[in-house]
């Protein structure tokens, strides 16, 4: 039994163990040996067990622990190291892998035989466990001596593979696994003894390559090479490097290939970023994005060049339009014409093109959205031929939305185009100017029944509302609603007339009642209405008073139209004219011949208006009046008479009166509104801040108003001065740059 077993003497016991150890070594060396039987195993285990559980002085735990270690040390120094020392390069690596595998087997076996030591002894003495002792031996004797040589051999193979040679990847993986495993849980050996040098070598390798490529290759070719290298290095990691090396390795490669040469690459004369953009090389640009997005701040210069490119393309369009415009005939100078239409179209196309670039090549990156925006802001605020971009855009919309407009598009295309126009509006700083022009043209479309499609009108207002807010479109929406109400009102008026036959003026009258606040302001002149029309006005006024007591009607005759019959000798014809034109013509019912001056005084209109009127009736396509002398322009000494002989093949003709250019008035109105807006903004800011410095006040003012327009610094200064005189603010006594709110 266990109690009365014989004491094993150390030497004796060790002799027995040594046999087992030798057998194990032989098996590892490949010498002919039988396998361990279960009996062998148990005998070895039991021997150790017994020698450790014997009573002192025969408990040999310490000695056995030492001998365990020495077994490894002997084997390594006598057999393993010599065999490794005599080999080199790849052969040495193979031998190392074999020896390491063997060593692990040896550790496993021996630690099992000696297992009893692990149970109590090592804990009691705070010693490393058997497994660790075994590995440490290999580390301290073999790894310590050879790791540098191994490292160099591995790196050399890696460089060979980089040059295109086939290497044994499995071997490298096994070798690098040793670096990892020898750390026994830590990566410090892998990192310090291998990775650091490998990274250094990699950097040097790619530095050499890059210095050649940058001279020989075009930018796209270089980028292709760089991309391929990165791909291959990534694969390298998956084949035999440890995964933690990936980011560090790629960073080195990116640094040497891209960061170092970034500027030279982008600015390459005929193949750099500028050239790629110019030649629409989307594939190359996509690659450029992919590569430069990986290096710190890599995309900044690319976005900058993109912005420059788009700006110059846009500016070229502006110049093109300017040049075309300057070739126009003198009298058509102020009117927005074909060239400007084309210009807006081209800007839209430019935007479409480069937005696609931002989305596709540049993966929707904010830097590029920003670049696009800033580029467009630069040239979109340049006017063409005296018309601001706000006006051009409003005119463009007008052409799409009016009947017989120059753009003939399908419903879908119209929707799309309107969408894009609204997007362009975001780049224009004078949004309020656009709103005013738009409103003026909308009024014209609505009042002269020139709107092509109600749905489109509403649709663009919705889009504008979304982009610029409800305040932007509230008046315009009011205008559209007014028209609907006006139609209802007209129906009521006609009912009133049929119920009151005495009130009937004898002329068909249609009145459109507008809400003043919604519509652009129109100068109302005191036109001397012909008697027939005076009656109409009275009748309507009576009707309207019967409906609403507290409203005042202001008549805008300049917007009216009139159908009158001209009893010409050849035949009677119906003439569709403006109220002003009708009033002029009706003068000739009473007189055969009138001088310019007489007409002016009888109509009670301005010279500008009269000249336009008479021109449309005597010097244009249809000569309803005869002019003496028969020149092409109206002069104050001219005389006019009714042209009885006038005729046309049609029964009914429209005699157009070219509209006055609204540009000046619109700009005036907008400037006035801006002054109020600046005032309100300054007061709002000062009321909440109480005391504020000049610089700060200006800055906040600009920010507040930015959504609608970019206020001029001088203008703000002027308004501040004005508000001071009106006692809203005061200047600080000691600091002239400080303002105080006066409650």
């Amino acid at each position: 039994t266990m109690n009365d077993r014989k004491t094993i003497d150390l030497e004796q016991g060790w002799e027995f163990m040594q046999k087992g150890i030798t057998k194990l070594k032989n098996i590892l060396e490949g010498l002919p040996e039988t396998q361990f039987s279960s009996e062998d195993y148990m005998m070895l285990y039991t021997t150790i067990y017994n020698m450790c559980t014997q009573k002192p002085p025969h408990d040999y735990s310490q000695q056995l622990y030492d001998k365990y270690r020495e077994s490894f040390e002997d084997y390594i120094t006598t057999t393993v190291l010599p065999s490794l020392r005599e080999k080199h390069d790849e052969f040495m690596l193979r031998e190392l892998v074999k020896r390491w595998a063997n060593h692990k087997v040896m550790v496993r076996w021996l630690s099992r035989f000696f297992h009893y030591l692990d149970r109590y002894f090592i804990a009691r003495r705070s010693l490393p466990a058997l497994h660790e002792v075994g590995l440490t031996c290999f580390r301290d004797l073999v790894y310590q001596e050879l790791n540098a040589k191994v490292r160099d051999a591995v790196i050399s193979l890696i460089d060979q593979e980089r040059e295109g040679e086939q290497i044994d990847r499995a071997l490298l993986k096994n070798v690098l696994d040793i670096f990892v495993e020898i750390g026994m849980g830590q990566m410090d050996h892998y990192e310090n003894d291998f990775e650091a040098s490998m990274l250094k070598d990699t950097a040097a390798y790619y530095s050499r390559k890059a210095s050649n490529w940058i001279l020989e290759d075009s930018c796209p070719d270089y980028m292709q090479k760089a991309e391929d290298c990165l791909k291959r290095e990534k694969e390298r990691v998956s084949h035999y490097l440890h995964s933690t090396s990936e980011p560090k390795l790629l960073e080195k490669v990116q640094n040497e290939l891209l960061s170092v040469y970034a500027n030279q690459l982008l600015e390459k004369e005929h193949s750099g970023c500028h050239a790629l953009l110019r030649d629409d090389k989307v594939e190359d640009l996509s690659r450029m994005y992919r590569l430069f997005s990986k290096i710190p701040k890599g995309l900044d210069p690319v976005a900058h060049i993109f912005k420059q490119h788009v700006t110059s393309e846009g500016t070229a369009l502006v110049k093109q339009a300017e040049d075309a415009a300057s070739n126009k005939k003198a009298e058509k100078k102020d009117v927005v014409g074909m060239q400007e239409q084309v210009f807006v179209r081209k800007v839209i196309e430019l935007h479409d093109k480069y937005l696609a670039y931002v989305n596709d090549c540049f993966m929707n990156h904010t830097l590029f959205h920003k670049a696009l925006k800033e580029a467009f802001e630069v040239f979109c605020n340049k006017g063409v031929a005296g018309s601001s971009s706000a006006e051009l855009l409003a005119t463009f919309c007008d052409n799409i939305l009016k009947k017989g407009g120059s753009e003939k598009l399908s419903d879908e295309a119209i929707e799309e185009t309107l969408e894009k126009v609204v997007k362009l509006l975001a780049y224009i700083s004078d949004k309020d100017l656009f709103a005013e022009f738009y409103r003026k043209k909308l009024a014209r479309r609505l009042l002269f029944d020139k709107s092509a499609n109600d749905d489109h009108e509403r649709s663009i207002l919705t889009k504008l509302k979304q982009q610029c807010g409800g305040q932007f479109t509230s008046k315009m929406e009011g205008m559209v609603t007014d028209l609907t109400l006006a139609r209802e009102n007209q129906t009521n008026f006609e009912e009133y007339l049929s119920n009151n036959p005495n009130a009937n003026p004898g002329i068909d009258l249609t009145v459109t009642v507008l809400t003043t606040g919604f519509w652009p302001s129109y100068k109302s002149f005191d036109l001397n209405l012909p008697a027939e029309m005076v009656r109409c006005v009275e009748v309507f006024r009576e009707f309207y008073q019967s409906k609403t007591k507290h409203r005042k009607l202001t008549w805008i005759y300049s917007l009216g139209t009139c159908n009158i019959n001209g009893k010409f000798e050849p035949k009677t014809m119906e003439l569709i004219v403006t109220t002003y034109q009708a009033s002029t013509l009706l003068l000739f019912n009473a007189s055969d011949r009138l001088s310019y001056q007489e007409i002016v005084s009888q109509l009670n209109l301005s010279d500008d208006d009269v000249v336009r009127l008479l021109h449309s009736l005597s010097c244009a396509k249809y000569k309803i009046l005869n002019k003496e002398p028969n020149t092409k322009t109206i002069s104050p000494t001219d005389h006019f008479s009714f042209n009885e002989k006038f005729t046309d093949k049609m029964r009914r003709i429209k005699i157009p009166l070219p509209p006055v250019d609204e540009k000046k008035k619109v700009i005036e109105d907008v400037d006035k509104d801006r002054r109020y807006a600046i005032d309100a903004s300054i007061v709002r800011i000062m009321k909440s801040r109480k005391v504020l410095g000049h610089q700060q006040l200006v800055m906040e003012c600009v920010e507040q108003l930015g959504r609608m327009f970019k206020p001029d610094f001088k203008a703000i200064k002027k308004r501040i001065e004005d508000l001071i005189t009106r006692d809203y603010l005061e200047r600080d006594k000691d600091n002239p740059n400080l303002f105080r709110y006066l409650a």
Binding site: M2, N3, Q35, S37
Partner: protein, 98 residues
Amino acid sequence: MKKEDTVKLISAEGFEFVVDENAAMVSQTIRNMLTSPGSFAETQHREVTFPEISTTILEKICQYFYWSLQFASGKETEFHIEPELTLELMMAANYLHT
């Protein structure tokens, strides 16, 4: 019971106890031996002799193996040890790392 799933444990007196592999591996020592790399052809020997463990003790140990498996799977009963066997059993348990 299939031969592959069993182990034969032999006492000092030569008594053979054939037990389930799972039961035998309750002993860490036996487990280590059975799972050592390569050298044991699984179907070959699979018998272990314990020249220092008596039949009585070895029998008790085998009982312990089975009890231990049952205890681990939820059947929490008591394992009774005759007092006169205690010392030897503990020493054998130490040896077998059980």
